[in-house]
Amino acid sequence: MRFALNDEQLAFSRSLDDFLGTAEVPGAARAWGEGDAASGRKIWQRLADLGVHALCVPEDAGGLGASPIDLVVAFEQIGRHLVPGPYIESVVVAPALLQATDPESLAELAAGSRVVTLAAPPGTPFALDADVADRVLLVDGDELNLAEAGSLRRSVDSTRRLFEVTAKDRLAALPTGAVAAALDAAALACSAQLLGAGERLLEEAVEYAKNRRQFGRAIGEFQALKHALADVRVALDFARPLLHGAAVSVGSADAARDVSAAKVAASDAAYLAARTALQVHGAIGYTLEHDLGLWITKVRALVAAWGTTATHRARVLAAITAA
């Protein structure tokens, strides 16, 4: 039993954090939302160079065949830094789905040179960033289709560009369980993204509370704000082990249950962080000029993405009452 990240994982996390901390990601995310993908694509490539895109690609297909823990580490940083783009789609889901039908594409996915996006109704009804994707997929039950992107739909998160899709060509009928496993991995990555966003929101709120003065003192001295921020710390601290636990249980009989539990807890914790960060910042947090709003709206979008918390709670209930 050793329930902690190892040194390589910590180093991987730090390398992503270091790079993203200097990459001016919020600016790239804003541009991305307006259809200018140039800076976002640069970040995409740099993250591929750092190994993110190769995590889920098997070693014999040119990838790293990394553990789900590494995936969680990477997506926490993606969430923390607000990186825009179809990462869950290209890094997590596509390698799993294309392994059988299009094995050659895996090396390109691993290298970051191919961008894939997809819709998988009902949980994921739209394809993210289909306009920058080389390939758009539509998962319909166990069927994998090549799809065509339709019109753009606006998300509360302006950096999420959602597209309607319609099936074009049927690519394959996937083996039983393959889609479920891929979507579980997506939900796990999304949970990690939420946790990263929640951590960042807490950090921003704490910094603001230390520096902002009202009524003659730092607002962080007021017990009401202190306690609200402490509650966020608690929520995040107890979401994290569920995330790591779910990563450990990938491949086991409990995987679906544990991923769902992680999604619920990460969503609730990140949402609490968002609401609290907004309240601590006051009006400034309510403006789009301040980057805080980018994280707040992203959390709102992600709690309903890759399965709503309602869907995931239902899955947990089914698992624990079946036993």
């Binding site: 907004l278 006051g282 009006a283 789009l288 709206t297 309903a304 709503t308 309602a310 869907t311």
Partner: protein, 389 residues
């Protein structure tokens, strides 16, 4: 104890209902804080004014109907139930007009109220400053006496001015006596937003629209005629209860009742397979109902000469929390579609827009932290300990 209305009140309500039924635009207007939305709402204000529905509680000479407080609440219920547009003139009508009626000169009333009533002049509030968010009394923007020109020269910066990006005139407090402490030495000014020396910088909100702006004052001259109340008396003028009763404190219950009814309708459409959301739907409806009844209690007290006082804080805490919870429940009912905005989304995106707007409730007009302090100290009598934000 009863909630019965007089024949006159019922007739008033029925007339309002009928008129709204015939005149409310069928399609929702563009967003309030967009240029088109703002313009469309100016027109709507004119339409309301023409039929004397824009300022029902004002005296007839200023285009009102001398409506009682009961009639005003009934009108508001009908207004929201009808799905009529959000009022672009609201800040002027609810925050400024009561002050003009209470402290303004005859000349000021005649000059400003008619154009406020028909939407030809839209007013924006200018309270907050960058260093004085919730701590209103720490205002730093200055008013310097200019005897030669018979007025004052304003300098400084205001922020979070709702409606300011598209509005015509502004009102706010400035420090006219630099030596006075905090609440003293402030003066209440009215000014055109296109005056020489004024720069408006719109600030986009979470919903992408510029709901508020910064206003920069660089030697802006305001004549004595546009001082509201006595110079140096601005804090008392601004805080006079008249300004709160029909404004933010007595926020129209119609708004929440209408939203709760829409939530119940949404539940009817989508609730069958989401029984876990039942309690939250019911609780939103109950809360809206509680707010409606609570308002009748407040109206009874105020009609009897009572003062809303610190109960306004109880009120604000309740509606701001109700509003967030109600919209969160709606978004949860919408499931994977809840992130969608705009006309393609459910209810033309009204749930998400309403949600984003609701998030500002616990922040503006005094954060909920401040309101809880007021309730604890003024209503419960708990000891002070340095005021919190």
């Amino acid at each position: 104890m009863n909630i019965d209305f007089t024949a006159q009140e019922l007739a008033f309500r029925d007339e309002a209902r009928a008129w709204l039924h015939d005149h409310v635009p069928a399609k929702p207007l563009p967003p309030l804080d967009s240029a088109e939305g703002f313009a469309a709402r100016r027109e709507w204000e004119a339409t309301l004014a023409e039929a004397r529905w824009s300022v029902v509680s004002w005296p007839a000479e200023y285009r009102g109907r001398d409506a009682s407080m009961i009639e005003w609440v009934l009108f508001e219920e009908e207004y929201y139930r009808s799905g009529a547009p959000v009022r672009v003139a609201q800040n002027g009508i609810s925050l400024l007009a009561p002050i003009i009626f209470g402290h303004g000169t005859r000349e000021q009333r005649d000059r400003y109220l008619p154009s406020m009533a028909d939407g030809t002049e839209i007013w924006a509030q200018a309270w907050s400053e960058p260093e004085a968010g919730s701590d209103l009394a720490s205002i730093r923007s200055t008013a310097t006496r200019d005897d030669a020109r018979g007025g004052w020269v304003l300098n400084g910066q205001k922020t979070w001015s709702s409606r300011a990006p598209f509005a015509d005139r502004g009102f706010g407090l400035f420090r006219s006596d630099p030596d006075a402490e905090r609440h003293r030495g402030l003066t209440y000014f009215l000014f055109p937003l296109n005056a020489d020396g004024i720069t408006i910088r719109p600030i986009p909100q979470l919903d992408g629209h510029p709901g508020f702006a910064e206003i920069f004052f660089d030697d802006v001259f305001v004549p004595d005629a546009d001082v509201l109340g006595a110079p140096g008396d601005g804090w008392r003028v601004a805080m006079s209860t008249a300004g709160n009763e029909r404004g933010l404190s007595l926020r129209s219950p119609g708004r929440f009742c209408a939203a709760a009814d829409r939530l119940v309708a949404l539940w009817r459409e989508r609730g069958a397979d989401q029984p876990h959301l039942r309690d939250r739907v019911v609780d939103s409806w109950i809360a809206a109902q509680a707010y409606r009844l609570y308002t009748w209690g407040t109206v009874t007290r105020l009609s009897g000469g009572g003062d809303i006082g610190a109960h306004g804080s109880v009120n604000k805490l309740f509606w701001s929390q109700l509003d967030v919870a109600l919209h969160e429940t709606a978004l949860d009912l919408l499931g994977p579609e809840s992130e969608l905005r705009g006309p393609d989304a459910a209810a033309d995106g009204a749930w998400l827009d309403g949600y984003l707007f609701s998030l500002s409730g616990p922040i503006y007009a005094g954060t909920n932290e401040i309101q809880r302090n007021i309730v604890a100290e003024r209503l419960l009598g708990l000891p002070k300990e340095g005021r919190a934000r």
